[in-house]
């Protein structure tokens, strides 16, 4: 079985850096595989272990900086390779600005150029933007069925039994490849790579592509024009909790002073 794990190289919101202009710094903010994309990778590996075959990581840049930050993009993809993915392919192009439609089109073109896959696994959303649309968009572009928010994947003969985790119910469906799915953070337990796996990752294939290489261009229908950091209005008052009763009195007094509790 040919399996594709869709991996976003995302910016870490907890390590956000801001330019003097007030824009989020695309040059300095730390990047890594988006949190739940590790679940997508693990789900792909688990499926490969059960059914045999190969897993390719597919990625498309959304933050530009293709030359300045090429090393960071590469490091993130090496992490997917270290987790056990067999090969990695990334569309790295500054004309991709994180418009999900364009991201999905780039990924579809990349997948086609590699001959297509039986199962595509993305996560339910990325940690930096949480748009949550790339998997169903990819399905529509490739003309495949989509199964979103999948929590459980159970192979059953030639088909898959998938459980979707919705707001008010769990829904179980029968699905036959080829298909696209997005998985939730509970779908798998991502395993940390061993030192041996990390070393081996450096000899695995990792290829970069431009949109021109794939013969596609952005739709031109939308572009990201700004990413402004919000000024933190939080007071960041620290209270030493090593003397619990003192700390409790201080906190309660402060909250009463703010008028949010009665004391």
């Amino acid at each position: 079985m040919r399996i594709a794990a869709l991996v976003k190289v995302a910016m870490d919101p907890n390590l956000m850096k801001v330019e003097p202009s007030g824009e989020v710094s695309l040059r300095q903010t730390a990047m890594a595989i988006a949190e739940y994309d590790r679940n997508a990778v693990q789900a792909a590996l688990d499926l490969r272990d059960k059914l045999g075959g190969q897993v390719a990581a597919l990625s498309a840049s959304t933050w530009g900086m293709s030359s300045e930050r090429r090393k960071d993009y590469e490091a993130a993809l090496r992490e997917a390779l270290a987790m056990g993915v067999d090969e990695a392919h990334m569309v790295l192009d500054d004309s991709l600005t994180g418009v999900p439609l364009d991201t999905a089109r780039a990924l579809a073109a990349l997948a086609r150029s590699l001959g297509g896959f039986d199962v595509y696994i993305a996560s339910e959303g990325s940690s930096d933007m949480v748009s949550g649309q790339v998997a169903p968009m990819l399905a529509a572009i490739l003309g495949l069925p989509a199964f979103t928010y999948v929590k459980r994947i159970e192979p059953e003969g030639g088909s898959l039994r998938l459980t979707r985790d919705l707001e008010d119910a769990l829904e179980t469906l029968r699905a036959s490849p080829p298909l696209v799915m997005s998985v939730t953070g509970e779908s798998s337990k991502p395993r940390l790579p061993t030192l041996m796996q990390i070393r081996r990752a450096f000899s695995k294939p990792l290829k970069f592509y431009s949109l021109a290489d794939l013969g596609v261009s952005p739709s031109g229908r939308a572009r990201r024009t700004a990413l402004r950091a919000l000024v933190q209005k939080r007071k960041n008052v620290y209270i030493d909790g090593s003397k619990p009763d003192e700390a409790a009195s201080k906190l309660i007094a402060a909250l009463a002073e703010e008028g949010v509790i009665r004391a």
Binding site: P136, M137, T148, T172, L173, R221, R224, L255
Partner: protein, 310 residues
């Protein structure tokens, strides 16, 4: 006349996004078209006087595929926008529709403005609520909005609800298991006490419930507590893919402050946190941060409040 289609699983969904649909329609001189998977007459009562057309989908199968087919039928050549509340089946259907039609989509849009050249500016939260992303978009476009974020106009008069037969659609559904609910609404509480992985067992959550009782607060939780351990039902889960809260005070106990959690708590007016790890991201977001063991600090808070309430 161009059209703004508002989609929902039921009339309540449609109502929760029709405020945004109407705003976009008014700004662009479009009419509002409502489409729902269920609720014939009730849909009519919900959208009368706001929408100029209403469709109740009739068909059998799976919600996203039924909605996808219906959107294709009602969009028409003069589509200006497709909108829905940010719910899973609807986000799924809108994304597939958009990609198929080649139109851009943004989820959980918070602001809309029409530009001079016919393009529109859409904004949404990014970076776990620490930034705002702005996009310039050429209509038609698709968007989801947080349910109820844009107030709906009052319906008036009547409207004929037409049946839209889309036949059988989607994969074979093997089963549907409703989720356990307690019916608590943490999203409207004035004070919320949040519990995270700092708690070592389900029994220990009684500490948080006692504190909440003294504060008149509702108890919410982070992802692991609801989704991984199942210690609390999912209607108490605060986060980007769960409930969003906007209390006067959020007290985060043993919560590390993962971006997905904070995005659901960002609108809290004041945030207090108790965590023993002084490097936990939660302290970046906190107005008052107690660096200490919740197993000592929370009992002390309870003692102090009991004293004051006596």
């Amino acid at each position: 006349m161009s059209r703004v289609v508002v989609a929902g699983r039921n009339p309540q969904d449609v109502s929760s996004a029709i405020g945004f649909a109407k705003m976009v329609a008014d700004a662009s001189g479009s009419s509002v078209v409502a489409v729902a998977l269920s609720g014939g007459d009730e849909l009519g009562r919900a959208v009368a006087g706001i929408a100029s057309e209403a469709y109740a989908i009739s068909g059998s199968g799976h919600a996203p595929e039924l909605m996808l087919e219906a959107l294709g039928r009602v969009a028409g050549p003069d589509l200006y926008a497709v909108v829905s509340p940010a719910l899973k089946d609807l986000t799924d259907a809108l994304a597939r529709f958009s990609a198929g039609a080649g139109i851009p989509m943004l989820t959980e849009v918070t602001e809309f403005a029409r530009g001079a050249g016919g393009e529109v500016t859409l904004r949404r939260a990014a970076m776990a609520g620490r930034a705002v992303a702005e996009y310039s978009v050429v209509p038609p476009f698709a968007a989801t909005v947080a349910p109820g974020r844009f107030p709906a106009p009052q319906p008036s008069g009547t409207i004929e609800v037409r049946r839209l037969d889309v036949g059988a659609r989607g994969p074979e559904v093997l089963g549907v298991e409703p989720k356990r609910r307690e019916g608590v609404d943490i999203s409207s509480a004035d004070i919320v006490v949040g519990v995270g992985r700092g708690f070592r067992s389900k029994e220990d959550l009684s500490l948080a419930f006692r504190l909440a009782e003294l504060l008149g607060a509702a108890v919410g939780c982070s992802r692991p507590i609801a989704a991984d351990y199942g210690w609390l039902p999912e209607d108490r889960w605060i986060g980007i893919s769960a409930k969003k809260i906007r209390p006067k005070l959020y007290v985060a106990l043993g919560i590390s402050g993962a971006p997905q959690h904070m995005a659901g708590a960002m609108d809290s007016k004041l945030i207090a946190a108790v965590n023993k790890d002084k490097n936990a991201p939660i302290f970046q977001y906190a107005d008052y941060g107690v660096i200490g063991d919740l197993y000592q600090v929370v009992p002390a808070l309870i003692r102090r409040l009991e004293e004051l309430r006596r």
